[in-house]
Symmetry: C2
Subunit: 433 residues, 2 copies
């Protein structure tokens, strides 16, 4: 009986797995460079966990189930609620700031499309318990540091940065009512995703004061923090938020990644829970979804029954990233090896097959990667097999081995061959451990 | 609102994550030493996938769900059906033998107990498309190679090996009816798990011929393959199966791991799908569940709608393994670092805090792990923070930096300090990349 894979899930054959590992290893290395510690949580949590953060609408987007004990569970669509739960459980024992990262597998019951699958991996970094702008800068820096390490430059990617606090202060100053703010956020967030006329229309439907709507449109087009004061009057709240943003750009500049960063008030982020800095990274061409996004959130731990502790974090999925890395020629098919061997053992005489097995085991137990052919056909065929395996050195067992207990070791990169006494070879392996 | 974790799931705080990574990294390295390539599949598959291999009883042990499209799905309780599906999908494109490994996260709705949780990780290695006993030996060797690499010896662990083919031939020879075989397998498999009298009673209930039951009991106690022929008459099938096992022990001996291997006919494995060699690895004290188990299976790919291709593989879970590694003193709390920094930057003057951030960014962008304190309290406090972080070198920015642009670099292992011009330090980092 042939049963297919479930639509929107992913099969990682060795080739796809090599790409996956390339991405995940890079994420982990960048996290560690900036001093983040790794954590992980369960693949499923109580369904309620996701309703607390995102409301009942989220249930539609979840793979949820009822277990035998009648518990309503959901496969995690994100790891932030788990992070909040875990930190709350040990909040007094954990030294602060808490700098954690994770690379969870996540599932969302969405319609599969370009850059969005039902199953994906997302790199998350979070700093909990640090109010200063340094923490905001660390998160953005770490995301840029990773992307830069793959070979992407400021010609390829841009970090668009804004502040929810600044946006709220400016909107209030323009006479927008408090209860309109949460209605406006998702609309403003759509600016770069829909045609200008459609955005204009949506905005003016909610903001009936023409002058206020005009100003909002102009604000959305600014690309430096300093230009704001020329456009609108600043009250104290706005001035404080602006000063924080100026600090942030200052730190990012000092960190050497200023060229990747740009102020952009159209970055709002859909989620209600952001309370301060928000950012997204995009390809500069702008034809893909955001590569990553994040910001500061002050209330999440408290919403999950913990203390009010500020936090800042970001998430980067693997799907859009992989598309971008391919578009930029950084990832190409066949550039990543699925197998790498230090040694391959070929035998010139079929009677030496047992010796190949014996030697392979010695090499492996000494810590090196090694294979031998299960079927000892012609030597040429074996060497061909070796060349498909990314082998550094091929050992040939032939007449020299029978007569003098000597191996032929062939360097596959240079083609050079040398003879070496089997015993000396084995001793050299052991001393290399 | 405080929502707990779901019972039987696992939270990996950085400390537990370090243990998890220690185990998984070891599995991956051992797989690669023996030339296996990594793959992975989706976290859920159609429920039917698991029914094909294990029957309807399995449904009780699954976390299953119905998605919005009405599809019946289950979180994977094992990866072998996924392996069969994936290989079948590309069976003509994949060069053989297929040597694949995976470290899937799996879920089973079992009652949590020692060494069994509802959520666990399992190392799987499989060789598909190779009939020779060499492939059986490779699988057992690779499992031993991993355990040995952790520091476990043949005093700690034993690989108990048998053959379903041999067992079937001997039972048939003793007059056991064909339809009794599948009834007997799960009973024989219980031998080491229940008291001797209980086993005796269960066996004699199914095997009413006293002489046959006596012989079976004696066979179960043998620890060398060669002793079998002294105990029972061998027909051709038995002789062939015995010769295969003798080959296997011969190869394992030549591979240098003979001391870990023992013949044991009480190893049957519960699952119906094994058709040849079967094995389990246990702690020699024998107070834990099996550390791993596997064997040869000839019909799985065909059962999933593919061709009849033979395969051999094994699975090792992380729960029993972790208990064993702790019992043997290999894993101790606090032996694994959750964070390792190449550099920590402390500042003797609060005014130098900005310079610390700048330098940290340079160090990270050069590929090294580095942190700086968010709050520049006293130097003593900062150095204390550094010592908790597994830091190799602490850089101190003080008066020498203000006056002469010089850093103090302290080796945290030796306590030695040296002064170095900041520019020279930065150049040395860049040349190290």
């Amino acid at each position: 009986m042939k049963i297919p894979a479930v639509k929107g899930t992913r099969d990682f054959y060795p080739k796809e797995m090599a790409v996956h590992n390339f991405i995940v290893d890079g994420w982990k290395a960048a996290s560690r460079r900036s001093g983040f510690e790794e954590f992980d949580g369960p693949i499923f949590e109580y369904l309620q966990m996701y309703q607390v953060k995102s409301g009942d609408e989220i249930v539609e987007q979840l793979f949820h189930l009822t277990d035998r004990g009648g518990r309503e569970l959901a496969i995690r669509p994100e790891i932030t609620p788990t992070l909040a739960r875990m930190v709350n459980q040990q909040v007094n024992a954990l030294p602060r700031p808490i700098k954690w990262f994770s690379v969870p597998r996540l599932c969302r019951a969405e319609r599969p499309q370009k850059g969005r699958l039902r199953e994906f991996f997302q790199w998350n970094i979070d700093i909990i318990g640090e109010e200063s702008t340094l923490a905001d800068a660390e998160v953005i820096f770490c995301a840029i540091d990773y992307l830069r390490s793959t070979g992407l430059t400021d010609k390829d990617i841009v970090s668009k940065i804004s502040s929810r606090k600044l946006l709220a202060a400016l909107l209030r100053n323009l006479g927008i009512a408090e209860d309109k703010l949460t209605v406006l956020y998702p609309i403003l967030d759509k600016k770069s995703k829909i045609p200008a006329e459609a955005f204009d229309e949506m905005l003016r439907k909610e903001v009936t004061d023409t002058a206020a709507a005009d100003t909002i449109l102009k604000l959305m087009e600014l690309h430096t923090v300093d230009a704001i004061s020329g456009l609108v009057d600043l009250n104290d709240d706005a001035r404080a938020a602006l000063s924080e943003l100026q600090d942030l750009f200052g730190i990012l500049g000092a960190m050497g990644v200023g060229a990747y960063c740009r102020f952009d008030m159209s970055i709002v982020r859909g989620l209600a829970y952001y309370t301060g800095m928000v950012f997204e990274m995009h390809d500069t061409v702008g034809n893909l979804r955001a590569v990553c996004g994040g910001g500061r959130y002050d209330n999440l731990l408290r919403d999950f029954g913990g203390p009010a502790i500020t936090a800042v974090g970001m998430g980067m999925g693997d799907c859009v990233l992989e598309i971008l890395l391919r578009e930029k020629g950084i990832l190409k098919d066949d550039t990543l090896a699925t197998k790498k061997l230090d040694y391959f053992i070929a035998v010139a005489e079929p009677t030496l097959a047992d010796k190949a097995v014996e030697l392979a085991a010695i090499i492996r137990l000494a810590g090196f990667c090694c294979e031998f052919p299960y079927k000892t056909g012609g030597l040429g065929k074996q060497l061909k097999q070796a060349s498909g395996y990314n082998v550094s050195r091929t050992i040939i067992l032939g007449q020299e081995f029978v007569n003098e207990n000597k191996l032929v070791v062939k360097n596959m990169a240079t083609g050079q061959q040398e003879q070496i006494a089997a015993d000396d070879f084995v001793s050299s392996l052991k001393s290399a451990c």
